[in-house]
C-alpha cells in the first residue's frame, strides 16, 4: 500500500467518524466540534485530489467562517449556564425507520456509483490550480462571480435586518 492510500484512508476514517458524531451526538456542542474535524478531513481529500486552492478555501471559509457562525448560533440559542445543551430527536420509531431508509439509500448509492461509467480522462500535469481558477472566474464565470456579490450583499443586509434587536 502506498503512502497516499494510507493518507486517504486516514482522512476517510476521520470524515466518516466525525460526521457520525455530528449526526448521532446528543450534545449539540460536541456535534459542532465534530463538524470541525469533518470539514478538515474534506479539506484533506481536496489536497489528495490536487485541489490546493479549494483546500485552503475550505479551511478559511468553512472552518473559519461558517463553523464559527454555527458555534455562535449554538451558544446564543442555548442557556449557556444551564446544562441543557442537549438536542431533542424525533420519536424512536421515526429515528429507526429514517435510519433504515437512509442506510438502504446509502448502499444503493454506492452500488449505483460503482456501476456507472463516469467521464474519465487522463489529467494533464498541473502545478497549481489557482491560476486557471482565477482565469476562469474572471472570464467564463464572470457573470456568476458578479451575481454572487449581489447575493452576498443581499444576504448581509437581510441577516443584519433580521437579527437586529428592536430599539427599546
Amino acid at each position: 500500500m502506498e503512502i497516499l492510500d494510507a493518507v486517504f484512508y486516514l482522512f476517510a476514517l476521520m470524515i466518516v467518524g466525525s460526521a457520525s458524531v455530528v449526526v448521532f451526538s446528543k450534545n449539540i456542542m460536541y456535534s459542532a466540534f465534530a463538524l470541525l474535524f469533518t470539514l478538515f478531513g474534506v479539506a484533506g481529500l481536496y489536497v489528495l485530489l490536487n485541489a490546493d486552492f479549494l483546500a485552503v478555501t475550505q479551511i478559511m471559509i468553512y472552518i473559519g467562517g461558517i463553523l464559527i457562525l454555527i458555534i455562535f448560533g449554538v451558544m446564543m440559542t442555548n442557556k449557556i449556564r444551564g446544562v441543557d445543551i442537549k438536542t431533542g430527536v424525533s420519536g424512536k420509531v421515526q429515528v429507526y425507520s429514517a435510519g433504515a431508509a437512509v442506510l438502504v439509500l446509502g448502499i444503493t448509492m454506492i452500488s449505483i456509483f460503482n456501476n456507472t461509467e463516469w467521464l474519465i480522462k487522463d489529467a494533464p500535469a498541473l502545478d497549481a490550480t489557482i491560476k486557471p481558477i482565477g482565469r476562469l472566474l474572471l472570464t467564463d464565470y464572470l457573470i456568476a462571480f458578479e451575481a454572487a456579490s449581489v447575493l452576498l450583499l443581499a444576504a448581509i443586509i437581510g441577516a443584519a435586518m433580521i437579527a437586529r434587536r428592536k430599539k427599546a
Binding site: T116, L119, D140, L142, A144, A147, L151, L153, A154, I157
Partner: protein, 502 residues
C-alpha cells in the same frame, strides 16, 4: 485573446441592460435608505422608478434572434423576455401593494431593506429565467431564495412570520442542497455544466440510466420546491399563511414564474433534440427518461392535493396557498405536453394567473387591514360593507376558478386545448374534475361575503381612493382579457422561441 474577450463582454453587457438596471436600483435603494433614513416612501419610489427603467430596457431589447451572453452562461431570447416581463410586472404590483399594507407599516418598521430585497429577488428571477448553465441556475435560485427567506419573515416580531421564514429557510436550504448534489452527479457523467454541452453528451445515449434518474430526482427536488409541486410542496401553506400578504402574493406569482421558466428551459435544452420542431409536434427526447409521464404524474398529484386540501381551509390566505399549488398543477399539465403549443399555453396561463392572483391577494390584504383577520368566517357580509371590493374579489375568484367571461377561462382554455391536442386525454379529464372541485372553495368566500350576513347591521367600509384604483386596475384586465385575448395569445406564441443552437 483578451481583446476578443473584451469585445464579447461589451456585446454581453449591451444585452444585459435590464439586469444591470436592477442591480443599480438595488444599490440606489441602499444608498437612499442610508442617506435619508427618515423619509418613509423614498425607498419605495426609488425602487418603482428603477423597475420602470428596467422595463424600458426590457421592452427595447431587440426581439429578433436569440443568443447567449457571458460565455454561454445566460441566454437572451424571447422566451426569457416574456417571463421577465411577467416577473417585473408582478414586482411592480407587489411594491405598489406594499404601500397600502397595514401589517408592514405597523410600529414604524424601517422599510428600506424590504424594497432592496424585493429588487435582489427580482434580479435572481431574471437570471433564473435565462440561465443556461447549471451553476448559474443554482446561483440564481439561491439569490432569489435568500432574499425571499428574509422577506417572508420581514415582520419579525410576529411569531407567525418568523415561523414562516424558519420553515422556508430550512426546507429551502435542504432542497437546494439536494439539487447541487444532483448537479454534481450530472457533472460527473457529462463533464460539463453547460446545458447545451450536457445535451450533446446525453445525445450519445450511453449514460447509465439509473444514475441519471437519481440525479434528476435530486435536481427536480430543487426546482419542484420553487414551483411548489407535490411532493415538494409541504412548506407552501405555512409560509404563505405566515408571511406578510404582499410577500405571499410575490412568492406565488413571480417566484413560480421563474421556477417554471427554468423547468421548461432545463427540459428543452437538456433533454430534447434541439432541431426546431414543428409547432404541434412533441419535442424529440434524447434520453431514455420519459419526461412527459413524469411531469404528467407530478401535475396530477399537485393539482389534486392542492384542490382537495383547499376544501378544508378556513383561512383565506391558507386557502389561496393551496389554490396556488393547484394552479401550479394546471401549469405543469401544459408543461407535460412538451411542445411549442404547450409552452405558449404555460405563458398565457401565467400572464392571466399573475393578474388574478395578485388581485385576489390584494383584496384579502385590504380586508385584513380592516378587520385584522384572514378567516373566511369573518368575511361574513363584507360584500355589503364595501361593494367595490366585494365585486372585485368575486371577479378574481371566478377567474381563478376558470369560468367565462374572465381571463382565467382563457388561460384554462389554452392549457386544456394543448393537453387534448397532444392526446393526453386522461390528464385533461383529471384537470377538468379538479377545476370543478375548486369551484366549491372559491364560492365559499363569495357565499360568506354576499349571501350570509345580510341581516347584520355593520357599518360601511371605505378604502382610500388609491387602494380602490389599484383594485380596479387589476379587476378590469381580468374581465377584458377574458374577451379580447388575441393579443396575448399572439404575443405568447411569438415568444416560445428559445435559444437552442450552439
Amino acid at each position: 485573446m483578451i481583446e476578443q474577450f473584451l469585445t464579447e463582454l461589451q456585446k454581453s453587457l449591451s444585452l444585459f441592460k435590464p439586469e444591470s438596471a436592477l442591480v443599480i436600483t438595488f444599490l440606489m435603494t441602499l444608498a437612499g435608505d442610508l442617506i435619508f433614513r427618515k423619509s418613509e416612501k423614498l425607498t419605495a419610489n426609488i425602487t418603482l422608478i428603477g423597475f420602470v427603467v428596467t422595463g424600458f430596457f426590457l421592452f427595447n431589447e431587440c426581439n429578433d434572434g436569440s443568443t447567449t451572453i457571458f460565455s454561454g452562461m445566460l441566454a437572451v431570447d424571447s422566451f426569457a423576455k416574456f417571463f421577465k416581463i411577467i416577473i417585473l410586472l408582478s414586482s411592480i404590483i407587489v411594491v405598489i401593494m406594499s404601500l397600502f399594507s397595514k401589517e408592514l407599516f405597523d410600529g414604524k418598521r424601517p422599510m428600506g431593506e424590504y424594497y432592496m430585497l424585493i429588487t435582489s429577488a427580482t434580479f435572481g428571477m431574471f437570471l433564473l429565467s435565462s440561465a443556461t448553465n447549471m451553476i448559474m441556475i443554482y446561483l440564481s435560485i439561491e439569490i432569489m431564495s435568500i432574499s425571499s427567506y428574509i422577506l417572508a419573515g420581514y415582520t419579525k416580531e410576529i411569531n407567525r412570520a418568523s415561523e414562516a421564514s424558519l420553515k422556508y429557510v430550512i426546507f429551502g436550504a435542504v432542497s437546494s442542497g439536494l439539487m447541487i448534489y444532483g448537479i454534481s452527479l450530472l457533472f460527473g457523467m457529462t463533464g460539463s455544466l453547460n446545458l447545451l454541452e450536457i445535451n450533446q453528451v446525453l445525445a450519445t445515449g450511453d449514460l447509465n440510466i439509473v444514475t441519471l434518474t437519481f440525479s434528476m430526482i435530486l435536481i427536480m427536488a430543487g426546482i419542484g420546491y420553487k414551483i411548489s409541486a407535490v411532493p415538494f410542496h409541504f412548506w407552501t401553506p405555512d409560509v404563505y399563511e405566515g408571511a406578510p400578504v404582499t410577500i405571499t402574493a410575490y412568492l406565488s406569482v413571480a417566484s413560480k414564474a421563474a421556477g417554471f421558466a427554468v423547468l421548461i428551459r432545463f427540459l428543452r435544452l437538456g433533454f430534447t433534440n434541439l432541431e426546431t420542431a414543428p409547432e404541434s409536434e412533441t419535442w424529440a427526447m434524447i434520453s431514455n427518461l420519459d419526461w412527459q409521464f413524469i411531469i404528467a404524474v407530478l401535475s396530477v398529484l399537485t393539482m389534486t392535493v392542492g384542490n382537495l386540501v383547499a376544501l378544508w381551509q378556513t383561512n383565506a390566505k391558507r386557502m389561496l396557498a393551496y389554490s396556488s399549488i393547484a394552479h401550479a398543477g394546471y401549469i405543469l399539465m401544459a408543461v407535460a405536453v412538451m411542445n411549442d403549443i404547450g409552452t405558449a399555453a404555460v405563458m398565457i396561463y401565467f400572464f392571466v394567473y399573475m393578474i388574478m392572483n395578485l388581485g385576489a391577494f390584494f383584496a384579502v390584504m385590504l380586508i385584513s387591514n380592516e378587520i385584522d383577520s384572514d378567516e373566511i368566517e369573518d368575511y361574513t357580509g363584507f360584500g355589503y360593507r364595501s361593494p367595490v371590493l366585494g365585486i372585485a374579489l368575486v371577479i378574481f375568484l371566478i377567474s381563478l376558478t376558470g369560468l367565462p367571461p374572465t381571463a382565467g377561462f382563457i388561460g384554462k382554455y389554452f392549457v386544456f386545448g394543448a393537453v387534448i391536442d397532444s392526446g393526453l386525454i386522461w390528464l385533461a379529464v383529471v384537470g377538468i374534475l379538479n377545476s370543478v372541485v375548486s369551484l366549491y372553495y372559491y364560492m365559499k368566500i363569495v357565499r360568506n361575503m354576499f349571501v350570509r350576513g345580510v341581516e347584520l347591521e355593520q357599518k360601511d367600509v371605505h378604502f382610500s381612493p388609491g387602494a380602490i384604483m389599484v383594485l380596479v386596475a387589476l379587476a378590469i384586465p381580468t374581465l377584458v382579457f377574458g374577451i379580447y385575448f388575441q393579443q396575448i395569445v399572439e404575443w405568447a406564441k411569438n415568444s416560445v422561441q428559445m435559444f437552442v443552437s450552439n
